[in-house]
């Protein structure tokens, strides 16, 4: 159906375009006859040459002009009738497109303007931010410095205390070792003296003392507590009991 209508439109346009051609063809025939008459006239006499030149001057043909106007009008009609809506539609679309583009461009411009203003503001506050950051970094550095100093002092204090404790322990250990060595030397010397001086009479005295102390429970010591007897070799017969 659409094809059929398009075909009809084309046929109409072709017809309209053919009308001027037909008119032009009908016009051509008298013109050709005129030209043949002019050629015969030349052969008739050259004396009439100036007269022939007066006949060749331009002349206005109203019929022909009417057909040309009709042809032009038909063309205008066809153009307006069939091309007008399409052109109008295209122009309208283009108009809308341009309108949309203009709106978009305006929006983009507004956004760019806003961003620009924002950047301007940020740039203006950048120095302030830099100063704030620098101050913050300085403050943190000061805090870290204080923390490290406190930590170092604490560590130094601990090391000092530990060192003092170790030194104290070593001194105690040395004192104890010295006491032990002195005691061992004293006991060794005492043993040597006792062994050299202890005679049968001393042995008998010690046994007698042992026998006497064993017979009386109060005369012995219990649970390893020291006996109150004499420390002299002759008096070492004091027994003790350990349970």
């Amino acid at each position: 159906m659409k094809r059929l209508r398009l075909f009809a439109q084309l046929a109409t346009m072709a017809g309209a375009l053919a009308l001027p051609a037909l008119a032009f063809a009908q016009e051509g025939e008298p013109a050709a006859a005129g030209e043949a008459h002019e050629a015969a006239g030349e052969g008739h006499g050259e004396g009439h040459g100036e007269h022939g030149a007066e006949h060749a001057a331009p002349s206005f043909d109203g019929k022909r002009m009417a057909w040309q106007l009709l042809n032009f009008g038909a063309l205008i009609f066809l153009l307006v009738k069939f091309g007008g809506p399409a052109v109008s539609k295209a122009l309208s679309a283009r108009h809308q497109q341009i309108k949309t583009d203009l709106v978009s461009a305006a929006e983009a411009r507004t956004a760019a303007q806003a961003r620009f203003e924002q950047q301007e503001k940020r740039l203006a506050s950048l120095e302030h931010e830099i100063a704030a950051i620098a101050a913050s970094i300085k403050q943190e550095a000061e805090a870290e410095k204080a923390r490290l100093i406190a930590l170092s002092e604490e560590r130094a204090k601990r090391i000092r205390e530990e060192s003092e404790f170790i030194i104290e322990q070593q001194i105690k250990q040395a004192e104890e070792d010295l006491r032990r060595e002195v005691a061992a030397a004293a006991v060794a010397l005492a043993e040597k003296i006792v062994r050299s001086q202890l005679g049968p009479a001393d042995q008998q005295r010690m046994i007698d003392s042992f026998v006497g102390d064993v017979a009386t429970p109060n005369g012995t010591r219990t649970n390893g507590t020291p006996h109150s007897g004499s420390a002299s070799p002759a008096g070492r017969g004091a027994p003790r009991s350990e349970i």
Partner: protein, 178 residues
């Protein structure tokens, strides 16, 4: 573990001895056997070595027992120990039996160690003093240890009576150190 088993065997034999009224004689024979066991490597080897068959071990004991332990109760007891593979407990059983005998007789054993050998009279005085201290009859086993330097040490069960110079020197050293 071994001590507990030894005490059970000793109590069994001791009961038989008490019933028969000859627990002291049984104890003496058991003590002789324990002494023989401790002193004779050959006997120990013969009775402990698994190479020898039980019958051979029994034959060895049957030959020895009449000479060392003529009492039938002790002979049967020792053969029972061999049969039950408890013969290695013989010394421990003898000690446990001796303790039971001592308890039955109300006596205790004392080990008296001196720096020099004690004269019999002195040892008797020591024994009597220990009897006075413990309130029981004391059987003294004397030993000599020169390291004591002087004096003596008496052990009665868990009680230790120390009158040696060595210990007093140690006490002196401890006091000096502290």
């Amino acid at each position: 573990m071994g001590g507990s088993v030894a005490r059970r065997y000793a109590r069994a034999l001791f009961g038989i001895g008490v019933d028969a009224g000859k627990f002291e004689a049984l104890g003496a024979e058991l003590g002789s056997l324990a002494t023989l066991w401790n002193e004779s490597d050959e006997l120990r080897q013969a009775l402990e070595n698994p190479v020898f068959r039980p019958a051979e071990k029994r034959a060895v004991l049957e030959k020895i027992l009449p000479q060392v332990a003529p009492t039938p109760e002790v002979q049967r007891f020792v053969l029972l120990l061999l049969e039950r593979r408890r013969i290695v407990l013989l010394p421990a059983i003898a000690r446990a039996y001796r303790d039971l005998t001592d308890a039955q007789l109300g006596q205790v054993r004392a080990e008296v160690t001196s720096a020099q050998e004690l004269a019999p009279g002195t040892l008797d005085r020591v024994r009597r003093s220990l009897e006075q201290r413990t309130g029981k009859k004391v059987i003294v086993n004397a030993k000599v240890d020169a390291d004591l330097i002087g004096g003596l040490v008496a052990r009665v069960g868990d009680l230790v009576l120390d009158g040696s110079v060595r210990t007093q020197l140690e006490d002196l050293r401890t006091r000096l150190v502290n």
